[in-house]
């Protein structure tokens, strides 16, 4: 072989060798040196949320090869709606510990929202790791398969779930929905009966039953249909991994959510304690002061309630709810003029506030101004034609027509 050609061949060989070594080095480095944790924009974010994200991120920087640190950062980001950044963390956590089902599961749940097939792949991976312990990954996989029309696969997954827990209401409901899609009303009803025997009163079960009954020729009354619509929404199925994420939520939204939940359960004193802590941390939150005023009102602590509502108005001078509550307080103290002023402030911001018009009508009625009261009640009905108390009040004031 001529010398020049040989030299050229050696140069090529050396170049290829160097490239190969460089590539191997790069891949090895990448695999053993995790990436930097994703940075997210924390401008205008709740300070408690920012603190939690920064702390979780710092934990990853301190222990970059810790799957649980990456996973916790991912969950913290996910809890506060940073889905894309969360997914990057779950990928890294999964790479560092491929035996942990949480990471592909949470990654999959987020992917389902925008790319169902990618989400399904992650859920399959999760089920391979954990099988049915816990049961939610397989059930979630089955539901996701059903949502993209892969009914046979979905059916198989639900059936596998039933092998572990024959009475699983979630699996039986899923099979009922599949049976309905296939037009198998008998089987659908069978599965629904199984759900009801374990978990009576579910709205999604009732609405499917109504559909089946209609298809079988039954005439469902409007009352029954309306009662079904007015049922409270079904609680989410238990999911320990999702609960872990929810427990990482911090900030004003979380605090207010907890306080409202306590108020709904009539645990007003506890709600008030929680709100007192909240306004110390978020003193400029009109929502927090509003909730506090409502809690004081529930405990008949009217002076404290009024103080809280006035604080709301310092922060948000147009607060419809604060003016409404102050108006009510004035009305109950028979300060009708003051009450009317409060309700009129509401109408200036929200002209179609039916209750404000109605309350003005009541104040005017109490102060012996029936004609103006009539106009106010009419205004209330104009905004809400279905508001029966306004119609009743109007009827009482209108001159009776001779028979």
């Amino acid at each position: 072989m001529p010398t020049n050609r040989r030299r050229l061949l050696y140069v090529i060989a050396v170049a290829l060798g160097v490239s190969a070594v460089g590539t191997v080095t790069y891949i090895f480095w990448q695999r053993t040196n995790p990436p930097n944790p994703p940075a997210v924009d924390l401008a205008q974010v709740d300070p408690e949320v920012a603190e939690a994200v920064i702390a979780a991120r710092a934990a990853v920087i301190k222990s970059p090869r810790s799957a649980s640190a990456w996973g916790k950062l991912g969950m913290t980001l996910r809890a506060h709606d940073y889905g894309d950044a969360a997914n990057l963390c779950f990928v890294e956590a999964e790479r560092l510990n491929s035996d942990e089902p949480r990471w592909p599961y949470l990654h999959g749940l987020t992917l389902l929202l925008t790319d169902p097939h990618a989400g399904i792949a992650k859920l399959r991976q999760t089920v391979e790791i954990c099988q049915d312990s816990p049961p939610s990954p397989r059930l979630r996989l089955a539901e996701a398969l059903a949502s993209v029309g892969e009914y046979a696969d979905a059916d198989e997954q639900f059936q596998l779930a039933l092998r572990v827990d024959r009475a699983s209401p979630r699996a039986n409901l899923g099979l009922a929905q599949l049976a309905f899609q296939r037009g198998d009303t008998k089987r659908c009803l069978d599965y629904l009966r199984r759900v009801e025997s374990v978990h009576p009163g579910r709205k999604d079960v009732r609405q499917l039953q109504v559909q089946v009954r209609t298809r079988l020729g039954e005439n469902i009354s409007e009352r029954e249909q309306r009662a079904l619509v007015e049922m409270p929404d079904d609680p989410p199925w238990p999911d320990a991994f999702v609960v872990e994420v929810q427990q990482l939520q911090v900030g004003l939204n979380m605090r207010l959510g907890e306080a409202f939940a306590l108020l709904e359960q009539n645990r007003v004193t506890e709600a008030l304690e929680a709100l007192e802590k909240t306004v110390k941390i978020h003193p400029r939150s009109d929502r927090a002061w509003l909730a506090m005023g409502q809690a004081h009102g529930r405990l008949k602590q009217y002076t404290a309630a009024e103080t809280a509502f006035r604080k709301v108005l310092e922060l948000q001078p147009n607060s419809v709810e604060a003016w409404f509550q102050l108006g009510l307080a004035a009305y109950f103290q028979k300060k009708y003029g003051e009450a009317i002023e409060c309700f009129q402030k509401i109408i200036a911001v929200k002209p179609d506030h039916a209750l404000a018009h109605y309350n003005i009508g009541y104040c005017l009625k109490e102060t012996n101004k029936p004609q103006e009261a009539i106009e106010a009640f009419r205004a209330a009905l104009r905004c809400a034609p279905d508001y029966a108390p306004a119609q009743k009040a109007l009827d009482e004031l209108l001159p009776q027509k001779p028979k």
Binding site: L9, I12, A13, L16, A20, T23, V24, I27, D41, Q44, V45, D46, P47, E48, V49, H80, D81, Y82, G83, D84, A85, L113, T114, P116, E143, A146, S147, V148, G149, Y151, Q177, Q181, D204, Q207, L208, V210, Q211, R213, T214, I220, E222, Q225, R226, V229, D233, G251, L252, N253, N318, V320, E321, V349, K350, P351, D352, R382, C383, A384, P385, D386
Partner: protein, 574 residues
């Protein structure tokens, strides 16, 4: 590296070993995610906005206060204001009644270009404009215009010559709440168009909402109670004090619609139970939908739950917004499509058997698109005229997408719209990647109107956006099949027969359309029915079910034209 051996190249061993080693290292890197291959094919739409002279930029008002009506509107309309056979355009602004930004009316000239004739038209009003409905309420042959707003609704009588008069007060149209979509229908079949206005939320503008991160954003609809859909009965000449006066009576409570409030956004008025009388479907946001079935006595009954359209396939209430009605599987029955949020699957309720519906989105190909979006304006139409309905969806978010992408305020809400080609039997394929003009650019799209804007027999699109330009997308689908465009009129009423159902038959095949421009989201379509027939070049008959229950057949054979059929000119159908 290679040397010829007996005419065949053979490799130098050392170099090849190195090459193989190098290539195998590359193979060990994780593969990039596989994206679905885009189907081959040229685009169906091109952006013709500038060429056609449509110059409109939506003003949603100042940003930063997260005033909720700002993110929900506005819509528009395609309508032939002057009866010259060419579609004109009406577009709404949303900056408030004190704003200098007024709604705009554009007349289409003989050259196909649009000229702004707003000034002096009477339609150049300012407000928090939401939706438009077009219909001839006084049967004078000219379509009138209803505009819904946050805080009121306005009815404008078409006086001819692109002049309109606000007759809301004298007509008795009073809607002080947050109106969204609206629709004209003749619910009592007396020949006079009645009006239904959907209302959204009992909104408190002083409430500030935030996402999970604490950053302020537009409020979720569940922060407020829903409001009632209002029904206005057209009294015709009965209560008129002057010959031209139009009067409506608010029959919301009496009709039953006032019994149940809801956060209403979309509306379709059509015969959902097959009894020949128009019913009303209201899409509710994050709440059960309503299907008001006409009881033929001035009252309606909500049967959404029993008929399967209250919830999605899993029994959940979704963010139902835009609506499209069409026979997707060629069985002669109308099916209903509803758009939802990016994080939710849309719904497609297939009618089977008549009057009953089942959400079959999972099996249509629409549940696995190239990307998801928060859908608003939407419509079925046969864009390529192959005889099968296609689907267009205008997308744009209502809450931020996770991390802030930076840039201008609306960047966090922009999404790409979508086009799906029908494949028959209720299946669709995603053609969005093939349509860069329509689907390539991210927008905060809201209204979508369909109609043959340039009169070439192909359905075009008009899209409105929040804070951006309105756009015309001209249909340029190649190899389009044969077609027919039908205007159905009732000469006695001197207007389009809104609510009529038109069925075209050729051999064993038939196609069905409804005459009613009120669908989609906040929008009003071209009222003509457009049909595509693929290779079929001759039709056997046209059957029309007129709104008053009369059925007629028309013998029409030629295709590839626009025709007008009039009630009374056909022969009674068997």
């Amino acid at each position: 590296m290679f040397r010829r051996v007996g005419g065949v190249f053979e490799t130098h061993p050392v170099l090849c070993l190195l090459l193989i080693a190098y290539l195998s290292l590359g193979c060990s890197r994780p593969n990039p995610p596989t994206s679905r291959p885009a189907p081959a094919g040229p685009p169906w739409f091109e952006d013709a906005t500038e060429r056609l002279g449509l110059n409109f930029v939506h003003d949603p008002g100042p940003t930063g206060s997260y005033f909720m009506p700002q993110i929900m509107g506005s819509g528009g309309a395609l309508l032939d204001c002057d009866g010259d056979g060419r579609l004109d355009i009406y577009l709404l602004q949303n900056a408030g009644p004190e704003s200098k930004s007024t709604n705009r009316l554009f007349r289409q000239g003989t050259d196909g270009r649009f000229v702004d004739v707003s000034e002096g038209s009477g339609l150049d009003v300012a407000g928090f404009g939401m939706g438009v409905a077009a219909g001839d309420v006084n049967n004078d042959g000219r379509p009138d215009v209803l505009v819904t707003e946050y805080g009121r609704a306005r009815l404008f009588r078409n006086d001819g010559g692109f002049h309109f008069t606000d007759i809301s007060k004298e007509a008795g149209i009073d809607n002080p709440t947050w109106g969204t979509s609206a629709c004209f229908l003749d619910f009592d079949r007396d020949g006079w168009l009645d009006l239904v206005i959907v209302n959204y939320l009992d909104y408190d503008p002083s409430l500030r909402c935030a996402g999970a991160s604490g950053r302020q954003d537009y409020c979720h609809p569940r922060s407020f109670a829903g409001t009632t859909t209002r029904l206005f009965h057209n009294l015709g000449r009965k209560a008129a004090e002057t010959p031209n006066q139009i009067r409506f009576e608010n029959v919301t409570l009496r009709s039953g619609l006032g019994k149940v409030p809801g956060p209403g956004l979309g509306i379709v008025c059509a015969d959902f139970d097959g009894d020949g009388w128009p019913d009303i479907f209201v899409a509710n946001d994050a709440s059960a939908n309503r299907l008001w079935i006409n009881q033929k006595n001035g009252t309606f009954r909500d049967e959404a739950v029993a008929r399967g359209v209250a919830y999605d396939t899993f029994g959940s209430a979704r963010a139902d917004m835009g609506l499209a009605l069409g026979d997707i599987d060629g069985d002669g029955l109308f099916d209903l499509f509803s758009t939802h949020l990016t994080e939710e699957m849309h719904s497609l309720w297939r009618q089977e058997p008549r009057g009953h519906y089942r959400d079959v989105i999972a099996t249509t190909g629409l549940s696995s698109p190239h990307w998801r979006g928060t859908g608003f304006g939407t419509s079925f139409a046969d864009f390529d005229r192959d005889g099968i309905l296609d689907l267009a969806i205008a997308n744009g978010r209502v809450i931020r997408a996770g991390s802030d992408p930076g840039g201008d305020f609306w960047n966090a809400y922009r999404e790409r719209s979508q086009i799906f080609g029908g494949e028959g039997k209720g299946k669709f394929r995603d053609l969005s990647l093939n349509n860069p003009d329509f689907s390539g650019k991210s927008m905060v799209a809201r209204g979508l109107c369909v109609g043959d804007i340039d009169g070439d027999g192909a359905v075009d699109l008009l899209v409105t956006t929040v804070g951006g330009p309105a756009r015309i997308f001209r249909n340029v689908a190649p190899n389009r099949g044969h077609w027919l465009q039908i205007r159905a009129v009732d000469p006695a009423q001197k207007r389009d027969a809104l609510g009529a159902v038109v069925i075209v038959r050729s051999g064993k095949q038939s196609w069905v359309r409804m005459i009613n421009p009120g669908q989609s989201y906040l929008s009003s379509h071209d009222p003509r029915a457009h049909f595509g027939f693929g290779q079929i070049d001759r039709i056997d008959a046209i059957r029309v079910l007129w709104p008053d229950g009369v059925e007629e057949e028309f013998s029409e054979h030629e295709v590839d034209r626009s025709i007008t059929i009039s009630k009374g000119a056909g022969r009674p159908a068997n």
